[in-house]
């Protein structure tokens, strides 16, 4: 079946479901009306959301505070009632007749006994995720979305630094960013995925091309809640591998709220307000956020500024259609330059990133049996990234200025010393997103089903000036990677996807089963040579044997489509010196000729989606009403992450020397006898294309133990942690130039007539970590105060890499006539012969004996952090935090080190926040 047919069939099926009527399902059904009121004022609450997730039913309270859910089938159902600023409530109701109920919502406040300043785990039977609510965000004093991730099991405490790019890695044990893991982490804000797919490598300053979203762009003061899915996500979420972060912005009535966070490196102020525009006119929310950070207040060589604002309008039409429209702007400025105390030399790098985004979401309560709630989402995100730099270009030796963009020999100017120059990059990633989804529930015999299905379309493009030099004769990068690259001719990305998911529940005896089974189809660049598609099945299951024990099982595949940077790499420029008379005494005789060979790859065809397979198994034990233990083991493999392709191309290049093709011309530049070079070199280079040769495996066990609240201490305890292991390798065969002792054999560099091929995947990088966090949360409602303290212990940190014995498995020689390579196998007999030579070079010198580096194991390391949040009155409050409260910076040494190193350096940090609500 062709791609077009698949898409058409999916569309047809969707609309059939959408328009199907209830004729076939004549089950008994009722109307449920729920009046929602404020627990204290007793006033009705307008705009509260009512959801029966298992049946796909959605409603919003009207001007009288009444939410109406029609055609609710007979039976038990859970209703979740939520509203901004209130504690959410879940009620299980037994629908046997028309029901009129009332629910009181309690305003979220530190006066409550229950405060949520830690992440909450998801229930069994759905994706493994952590829910981070508004109180947790405020208590953490997060300045950006990335700060919140330290609340997840196994994640380490962080010191917030806004002056460097912050990206999201899921379940990795290594200390450095894994680009593929970060690229495969989806961040979805109000239903619209943030996308890096159209970001190019701008070559100036930081780039997030082929890497994760920069989490610094999102302040936290306008966030209502964050769900971090690190397990197997619902089929609704796609274009990801490692996980997803679902961000929900504030929408609804809120007081005026002014917040200011200050710590030694950062100032972050925000303003927000949500107005109720009257019973019929919905809600209008605005937010404004400004953050400024310096890397180190002593040496002001880096700074970051963030200004963002948004206006959100939510309203309900005809009691059936709930819409939310949001316009947001975001401006980031990264600056790096000289310290003001330094003698100014005019060097700096500035990156300005301006983004305007418009999103619109509608939820239509159709209440048809096969189309209960229709949701549509549309989003446009327009970015303008401008990077400028002024710098000195330095190099050991002469700096040829090669600007050629076509293959040929060029008489090039050159610099013999450093020079100051400037340039930059202009990039305009634009992203358009459309999504239409439907959900409905049904009970078939003992099974209850809740179906979700949807279609998504993304269009992502980046037409811009790209990388440029202010003066082409003084390039920023005087090398083959420094040619200007306009993005105008880079094609746009078209991505179509569809998903279908069934959330089943049934009961056999006392055993309850839940199964979330879904499949997602993703197709990138349909109809083009480089098109790529994938089908991703996903399963999350749970079995509840008793009320206190749930088993979890999960299997899922996720796919991340390649970005523009992977599909449309830049031309490869190979520059080689052909004539050198640059050192001639007479300036008029000086000449430097370079041969430029341009390999125009145009596009990477054959690139696959990075596909990730996850398995999860775990259990939840309810030890008592207040004590819960959740343990999850995971195995998360991405065998085909994006990497270089390793494909080579061939070309020949002439060299001319004085008397050998170069004829001396006293008083003038030498004349070149092009037909008679001193030498013709056969050269080979990498094409610069991308492949799928990055293999990564994350596995481990996460646990979360809710130790409950000790009433007499007013304190709750939580103990969480994880054992994580990350291994990675390349599955690409390595091409290696032979080592030559006798330099007369092949006197010019990089001109050996063959190269060895070593087997793939022999050397593995391995990181392991076992860490725990014990959190104590002291909450004194009468004082409106929460104090929490976290004790983090990294019990075990292992960093290792193998350096295995390896023999070359083959050697390749260029076949210039056919522009190809011929591969010859290397046999064991050849390797056994100590005198065996390939083209004069001893084969035994190519044998790698291997010598594994000893793994580095760090001793246990402890750190404590403390936080306090206190409402001074109903209108004002403050928070205060101290990271590494005990200023514990022990001198330790690893198992292989002979010297002591001071640990926890730079982790001591403190700050405070003031807030006013009126």
């Amino acid at each position: 079946m062709s791609t077009k047919h698949v898409i058409l069939t999916a569309l047809l099926a969707f609309f059939v479901l959408l328009t199907a009527n209830a004729q076939t399902q004549k089950r008994e059904s009722f109307t449920v009306r729920i009046t929602v009121t404020d627990s204290l004022s007793k006033e009705t609450i307008i705009g509260a959301a009512l959801q029966m997730k298992s049946l796909g039913i959605y409603s919003v309270t009207d001007m009288n505070g009444v939410g109406t859910m029609v055609n609710v089938p007979r039976g038990q159902a859970a209703v979740e009632i939520s509203c901004l600023g209130y504690e959410s409530v879940v009620r299980t109701i037994n629908v046997t007749k028309e029901l009129v109920l009332s629910v009181r919502l309690i305003e979220t406040s530190l006066q409550l006994k229950e405060v949520s300043v830690v992440a909450k785990n998801s229930a069994a039977g759905a994706a493994t995720s952590s829910q981070i609510g508004r109180q947790a965000i405020e208590h953490l004093q997060a300045t950006n979305l990335g700060d919140l991730m330290q609340l997840l099991p196994g994640q380490l405490m962080q010191t917030s630094d806004l002056t460097s790019v912050k990206q999201l890695n899921f379940r990795t044990a290594g200390s450095t960013n894994d680009a593929n893991n970060a690229f495969g982490a989806s961040v979805i804000v109000d239903g619209i995925p943030e996308s890096n797919n159209a970001v190019m490598s701008d070559k100036v300053g930081n780039t997030t091309a082929g890497n994760g979203i920069d989490l610094r762009q999102m302040g936290t003061d306008n966030i209502e809640s964050v769900e971090v899915i690190r397990g197997i996500p619902s089929a609704e979420y796609g274009d990801l591998t490692s996980g997803a972060v679902i961000v929900k912005s504030k929408s609804g009535k809120t007081p005026y709220e002014v917040r200011t966070k200050v710590n030694p490196t950062t100032i972050n102020s925000s303003f927000g307000k949500g107005w109720s525009l009257g019973a019929k006119n919905g809600f209008l929310n605005t937010s404004f956020d400004y953050a400024q950070a310096w890397g180190d207040p002593r040496t002001k060589t880096r700074s970051f500024d963030r200004i963002s604002g948004s206006v959100t309008y939510a309203t309900t039409f005809f009691k059936k259609l709930r819409t939310k429209t949001k316009v947001s702007v975001n401006s980031l400025i990264d600056w790096a330059g000289q310290d003001p105390d330094e003698a100014a030399n005019g060097t700096f790098t500035t990156q300005k990133d301006f983004k305007i985004a418009v999103s619109h979401e509608g939820k239509l309560a159709l209440n048809l049996p096969l189309a209960r709630t229709i949701t549509y989402t549309a989003g446009v995100s327009l970015s303008d990234k401008q990077s400028t730099t002024s710098t000195y270009v330095t190099k050991s030796g002469i700096i040829p200025i090669i600007t050629a963009t076509e293959t040929g020999y060029y008489d090039v100017p050159f610099q013999s010393m450093s020079y100051q120059t400037s340039g930059g990059a202009i990039s305009s990633p634009k992203s358009y997103f459309l999504k239409l989804s439907n959900s409905f529930g049904a009970s078939i015999k003992k099974f209850t089903h809740q179906f979700n299905m949807g279609l998504e379309y993304r269009y992502e493009v980046n037409k811009a000036k790209g990388y440029y030099n202010d003066n082409e004769l003084l390039p920023l990068r005087p090398n083959s990677d420094g040619r200007p690259r306009p993005y105008y001719e880079i094609p746009a990305l078209n991505q179509l996807s569809g998903y279908f998911e069934d959330n089943m529940a049934w009961k056999i005896g006392k055993t309850k089963f839940k199964l979330q089974a879904g499949v997602r189809y993703t197709h990138l660049q349909p109809g083009m040579d480089e098109q790529v598609w994938s089908l991703s099945p996903r399963l999350n299951a749970s079995i509840q044997f008793t009320k206190w024990l749930d088993m979890r099982l999960g299997f899922g595949q996720n796919s991340k489509t390649p970005g523009l940077v992977h599909l449309y790499p830049e031309k490869t420029y190979a520059d080689k010196l052909a004539v050198d008379n640059s050192g001639a005494a007479n300036p008029d005789e000086r000449m430097l000729i370079y041969h430029t060979y341009v390999y125009d790859v145009q596009r990477t065809s054959g690139l696959k989606n990075a596909t990730n397979t996850k398995y999860e198994v775990g259990f939840d034990i309810k030890l008592s009403e207040n004590h819960k233990l959740s343990v999850i083991g995971y195995w998360d493999n991405t065998p085909n992450g994006f990497s270089t392709l390793g494909k080579q191309f061939l070309y020949t290049s002439n060299v001319y020397k004085m008397g050998q093709g170069m004829i001396n011309n006293p008083g003038a530049k030498p004349t070149i006898d092009w037909a008679n070079p001193a030498r013709v070199d056969t050269m080979w280079m990498s094409t610069g294309q991308y492949g799928n040769y990055n293999w990564a495996l994350n596995k481990g066990v996460e646990f979360d133990l809710d130790l409950g609240r000790i009433e007499s201490w007013n304190t709750s305890f939580y103990f969480s942690g994880a054992y994580m292991e990350t291994s990675s390798k390349t599955t690409l065969r390595t091409i290696s130039t032979p080592k030559i002792k006798d330099l007369t054999l092949y006197p010019e560099t990089n001109t050996t007539p063959f190269k060895y091929i070593y087997p793939a995947g022999r050397n593995v990088y391995l990181d392991r970590r076992f860490s725990t966090q014990l959190r104590g949360v002291l909450n004194i409602p009468s004082l409106r105060m929460v104090f929490s303290s976290s004790l983090q212990v990294i019990w075990y940190t292992y960093t290792g890499s193998t350096n295995r014995a390896m023999d070359p498995v083959a050697y390749i020689i260029p076949d210039v006539a056919n522009n190809n390579f011929i591969e010859f196998p290397i046999t064991q007999e050849m390797l056994n012969d100590p005198d065996y030579k390939i083209m004069g070079i001893l084969l035994k010198d190519a044998r790698i004996s291997g010598n594994d580096n000893p793994p580095i194991i760090q001793p246990p390391l402890m750190m404590m952090s403390s936080r306090l949040t206190k409402d001074i009155s109903k209108m004002a409050g403050f928070s205060f935090y101290v990271n590494n409260t005990l200023f514990y910076q022990p001198w330790q040494r690893s198992n292989i080190s002979t010297t002591l190193t001071e640990k926890n350096q730079g982790t001591f940090n403190f700050g405070m926040e003031l807030y006013f609500k009126f």
């Binding site: 030796g397 013999s416 050198d580 008379n581 006798d742 560099t749």
Partner: protein, 396 residues
């Protein structure tokens, strides 16, 4: 009020007096006696003693000298305890000198030492300058194209350079791979260049020199402090620096780093260099991985019997100074070491041989050649090719 002020001042003065009285003013402990007895080389027989020669004890802070008695013994009295380099030398004939030395001798109590004196043959051709630090260009950025080595004819006869002369740069791993102490008889090179590739020969007159560089151009146009190397005699032809087609090429025999085909003079060091002569096929000399490794960099092993001259130039580390244990050249070739003051270079510092004031005349400069670079060399700034007139080089 006035009384109060006076009281305060008095209390302060008394306090200061009390505290200063607590300062430990115990006198410095000296070593009463340290004797050094010289043992002469066997072939000189027992009748010749190392008499009336100066022996120098030198630490980072202080230098002592004393004259040997008729039996070749010297006694130092009232020595401050410390770590000393001990050296002495005697001009036996115009071609042979006697040298004795030991490095890093720990002298913390009354002690005696028997110092072996070795015979040292004076070379006609000697390495006289190692300029590797580089400098700053007109924009005050690093400039490294102007590095050079100079070889000087310290004899009274014309010397001929033919295709049997080689220059080597010694292995310079940060963790020393081939210390002299563990490799008697050999030196391991990171690079070897042959001075003349064909069957021609060059003549160096007495007091003349040859200059080896990576870029034989006038560098002063790019860096005001730099040097004009158009007068260089040999150039390592390469594609990194501007080459002068009028200057002869050095032939690269071996490079531990295949892409480095020019002289790998490291800005900060180590840059120990040696001059050797052999008719053997140097390309066939064995090369070895670092002991204990079977991959990585490989170094060419050269028998010390071929060496004409060598100079140990070490990197100066910020807190510890040069690492003496990094000596890779045997002490009978170079008993000492020299280093520039900068840790990373770019200071236009050069390591240059001192002028032998006893021998030199107004018409002819002779350079020091005691086979001890601590004695023979000095680090000077702003080197000038073929010139030896810096005050540090001509000081007594």
């Amino acid at each position: 009020m006035k009384l109060f002020k006076i009281k305060t001042i008095l209390i302060l003065l008394i306090s200061i007096h009390t505290f200063t009285s607590c300062v430990d003013q115990e006198p410095q402990t000296y070593i009463d006696e340290f004797s050094v007895t010289m043992t002469m080389p066997e072939d000189l027989g027992d009748s010749i003693h190392f008499a009336n020669q100066t022996v120098i004890l030198k630490s980072n802070r202080i230098t002592y000298s004393a004259i040997t008695d008729s039996l070749g013994k010297v006694v130092f009295n009232n020595i401050i305890p410390g770590v000393y380099n001990i050296s002495t030398h005697q001009e036996l004939t115009s071609e042979i000198s006697l040298v004795g030395d030991t490095l890093q001798y720990q002298l913390f109590k009354k002690d005696s030492l028997v110092l072996q004196i070795n015979k040292s043959i004076k070379a006609n051709l000697i390495i006289s300058k190692v300029y590797a630090a580089g400098t700053k260009d007109n924009n005050n950025k690093n400039y490294v194209a102007d590095k050079y080595l100079e070889i000087y004819n310290n004899s009274d006869t014309e010397q001929y350079i033919d295709n049997t002369f080689y220059v080597g740069l010694v292995e310079a791993e940060s963790v020393i791979a081939y210390p002299a102490s563990k490799n008697p008889g050999f030196v391991f090179a990171r690079q070897v260049f042959r001075l003349i590739a064909d069957n021609t020969k060059d003549t160096i007159p007495p007091g003349g020199s040859i200059i080896l560089t990576n870029s034989a151009i006038d560098h002063t146009q790019f860096s005001p402090n730099s040097v004009n190397l158009r007068i260089a005699d040999y150039e390592a032809k390469n594609t990194t620096y501007s080459n002068n087609s009028d200057v002869k090429g050095l032939e690269l025999i071996y490079s531990a780093f295949p892409s480095l085909i020019y002289m790998n003079l490291i800005n900060g060091g180590d840059n120990s260099a040696f001059l050797f002569k052999t008719t053997e096929n140097v390309r066939s000399f064995p090369i070895y991985y670092i002991p204990g490794k079977e991959q990585g960099n490989r170094y060419m092993r050269i028998s010390i019997q071929y060496l004409i001259d060598g100079v140990e130039t070490l990197k100066n580390y910020a807190n510890t100074g040069p690492r003496i244990e990094s000596k890779r050249i045997q002490t009978y070739v170079d008993a000492g070491y020299m280093f520039i003051s900068a840790v990373s270079g770019y200071t236009h510092e050069s390591i240059e041989r001192r002028v032998d004031l006893k021998k030199s005349t107004s018409d002819r400069v002779y350079l020091m050649d005691t086979n001890n670079s601590s004695n023979d060399f000095r680090a000077v700034t702003d080197p000038t090719p073929r010139k030896y007139d810096k005050p540090l080089l001509t000081a007594k």
